[in-house]
């Protein structure tokens, strides 16, 4: 296993942000993390980057505790793409991608760095943008360039474990780029990289993840094969919405859609997963408090909530 988490808990003061989370990811596997805002997804990613040390609990990358590895050592094995990257300087696209090779700068030639960066750009279909100034790109293009940067960071197969962490990589992308991006990620995973990706779009999660971790109120509500976890019952429980399953035979797809906030169910979720998570879950899908929320929505919509505000520091 590339990544092993057992019994990971993180608390801020008396509040539990993560409560006994355990899972593992194998090389080549794509694990999706879904859950309502405030469920602890970002905190979990911060544990995986090594920024937060879980107490108690253990987080191992390649069989070694994250906390025992140096910043430089970790940088060669795991790459992290935050929800938003801020870069106010006029680098060219190629230079931004080259930044991904920073941890390897001391031990490889410029030629090699350039070579890997170009291949990462090709994989993310941004080769054509190479010489363009980064700041002149559209938001979606910038997002794909940043993805190329983190792929370049852990590009070469090595004996060491490789872990790719993505926080909402499709947030600012149009439909077609959402799919090409996640296809690139899948393809990259096939070279032996373990991928952990936070997604809000359940339809995308259904199509591009091998396994799914459903997080609510800091606890694992369910985990397993994506098809097994994505059920109307689970989605209702985690997000506090009424949800239904629809099947699109032509595409071989099974999707979950939501049709409004369900007061009863969210009350149940709050009992199961702590008041904070459930309250946020309600806030995400409806603006009214649970007691006065309408029990059924007029129009069905996909169980899709906006991403949390503010990107986490690594």
């Amino acid at each position: 296993m590339t990544l092993d988490l057992s019994n990971v808990s993180v608390s801020a003061g008396r509040r539990m942000i993560l409560d006994a989370v355990s899972f593992s990811v194998a090389p080549g596997e794509v694990l999706g993390i879904v859950g309502p805002n405030g469920a602890g997804k970002t905190t979990l990613l911060r544990v995986l980057t090594g920024e937060l040390v879980p107490r108690p609990g253990s987080a191992k990358l390649g069989g070694r505790e994250l906390r025992s590895q140096s910043v430089a050592e970790l940088a060669r094995q795991r790459a992290y793409l935050p929800q938003q990257s801020s870069l106010d300087f006029g680098f060219s696209v190629l230079e931004v991608v080259l930044l991904g090779r920073t941890p390897h700068r001391a031990r490889e030639s410029q030629r090699m760095s350039l070579d890997i960066s170009e291949r990462a750009m090709a994989l993310c279909s941004v080769s054509e943008l190479g010489a363009r100034p980064y700041l002149e790109l559209s938001g979606g293009e910038q997002q794909r360039v940043q993805l190329a940067r983190v792929l370049a960071q852990i590009w070469e197969p090595s004996d060491a474990a490789r872990l790719l962490l993505l926080d909402e990589p499709t947030a600012s992308l149009d439909l077609s780029h959402q799919h090409t991006t996640l296809e690139s990620v899948r393809r990259f995973a096939e070279s032996g990289v373990a991928v952990v990706v936070v997604l809000h779009d359940l339809a995308l999660a259904a199509q591009y993840t091998d396994r799914l971790l459903l997080l609510a109120g800091g606890r694992v509500l369910d985990q397993g094969k994506t098809g097994d976890v994505l059920t109307p019952a689970n989605v209702s429980r985690a997000f506090g919405v009424q949800s239904h399953e629809i099947t699109i035979d032509a595409a071989g797809l099974r999707l979950i859609v939501a049709s409004g906030v369900n007061a009863d169910i969210s009350a149940g979720a709050s009992a199961a997963s702590g008041a904070k998570g459930a309250a946020r879950a309600n806030g995400a899908t409806g603006t009214q408090p649970p007691s006065s929320a309408p029990s059924s929505g007029k129009t069905a919509r996909a169980a899709h909530v906006r991403s949390d505000p503010g990107d986490p520091p690594c």
């Binding site: 935050p82 006029g90 060219s92 230079e95 750009m121 010489a131 690594c314």
Partner: protein, 374 residues
């Protein structure tokens, strides 16, 4: 994308059809060529400016004779006038060397600051580092009369300027950071506040200064290379050289820091150590420069930007380039100021007497560039 587009090559994922990467590689190469040309041109400009500064002035000395004077210690004996030798060696040469040192110091510290604050507007003068150094230096000018020998005074001056610059950088940096991020508005406000405080303290120093000290202080505020002696050159150069030698090692980490502290950490950069290092280097460079040249400001903010424009908007933090550019710029500024004064006041002794304010003239050639930036 289909499987056919990809092969396992050299154990790594590789695109089988390499057209697009090849195209971007060509562009990369032409960028590299352009970069080299620009840097070579700037290096030549530095040499040309230095030569012009040695040859031209109120007293015209042909370039060939300047070279002869410089080569004299190597055993080439040429018959030279005493006056020529004195003007070149005692007045112009230290001025040129100090100009190079100050320009390099401010250029590098501008690039370091902009990287450290992740803000293209950061500049040693703008956020108060220069005025911190000035306060430190002025304290020595006014209150340091008790320090017996002139060597002790000259040593105390850069040291005090360095400490002033370090203190201000530290304070501004501390004030402008909240939850691990540098807040731009707070950064500028803190810089302006510290500037005001330093100015007030400088005003208090002016109140207790003697007439002669006041005159020194005034030229100080305008910035000048006129007082350059070999002693000031030797005292300024080591600090600047240290910063120039160290800066390239910070380049790739500073570039990574531009992505944000979190991203830099994920790229294996020891962010806290990097920031401490950059703060100390900046203070050292600004202190070493400001102690002997006064407030030469403004060029610092622009040098990295001009260079980036010239290099097709490429990397900021390769600080050496900032240094090259700034040296040329400052030398030109000094040259213009020099000529202006000499033309306006030809009766005075060639190259002697009053110092020329560098700041105002150095700003002039930069003005159109600033228009271009906005």
């Amino acid at each position: 994308m289909t499987d056919a587009g990809w092969v396992e090559a050299r154990g790594a994922l590789a695109p089988a059809r390499g057209e697009a990467p090849a195209a971007s590689r060509d562009r990369g190469r032409s960028n590299e060529r352009r970069r080299r040309l620009v840097l070579m041109g700037l290096a030549l400009a530095v040499v040309a400016c230095a030569a012009a500064n040695l040859a031209l002035g109120a007293m015209h000395i042909p370039l060939a004779r300047v070279v002869a004077v410089l080569l004299e210690p190597l055993g080439l004996s040429v018959s030279l006038g005493l006056e020529e030798r004195a003007v070149v060696l005692a007045i112009r040469l230290p001025r040129v060397l100090l100009g190079l040192s100050v320009g390099a110091a401010l250029g590098v510290s501008g690039a370091l600051m902009q990287g450290l604050f992740r803000n293209p507007l950061a500049d040693p003068a703008l956020i108060g580092v220069s005025s911190g150094a000035a306060l430190g230096a002025k304290t020595v000018i006014v209150l340091g009369a008790q320090l017996g020998t002139s060597l002790a005074r000259d040593l105390a001056l850069p040291l005090s300027a360095f400490l002033g610059a370090l203190a201000v950088t530290w304070i501004v940096w501390g004030l402008s950071r909240r939850e691990g991020r540098t807040d731009v508005a707070t950064l500028l406000l803190a810089g302006i506040a510290i500037n005001a405080l330093a100015m007030a303290l400088q005003g208090m120093l002016a109140l207790v200064a003697s007439d002669a000290q006041l005159r020194t202080l005034t030229f100080w505020m305008l910035g000048s290379l006129g007082g350059a002696t070999f002693q000031s050159v030797w005292l300024s150069v080591p600090g600047v050289a240290l910063v120039l030698a160290a800066a390239p090692f910070f380049a790739s980490s500073l570039n990574a820091l531009l992505l944000g502290e979190g991203d830099a950490l994920c790229l294996g950069v020891d962010v806290e150590r990097l920031k401490r290092g950059a703060v100390v280097l900046t203070a050292l460079a600004v202190g070493s420069a400001v102690a002997f040249s006064g407030n030469v400001a403004f060029v610092g903010l622009l040098a990295p930007h001009l260079l980036r424009l010239a290099l097709a908007r490429s990397s900021l933090a390769l600080a050496w380039r900032g240094a090259a550019r700034r040296r040329a710029h400052l030398a030109v500024g000094s040259r213009v100021a020099h000529a202006a004064r000499a033309a306006g006041d030809p009766a005075r002794h060639p190259d002697g007497g009053a110092r020329r304010p560098v700041l105002s003239v150095a700003a002039a050639p930069a003005a159109p560039a600033r228009r271009h930036l906005t």
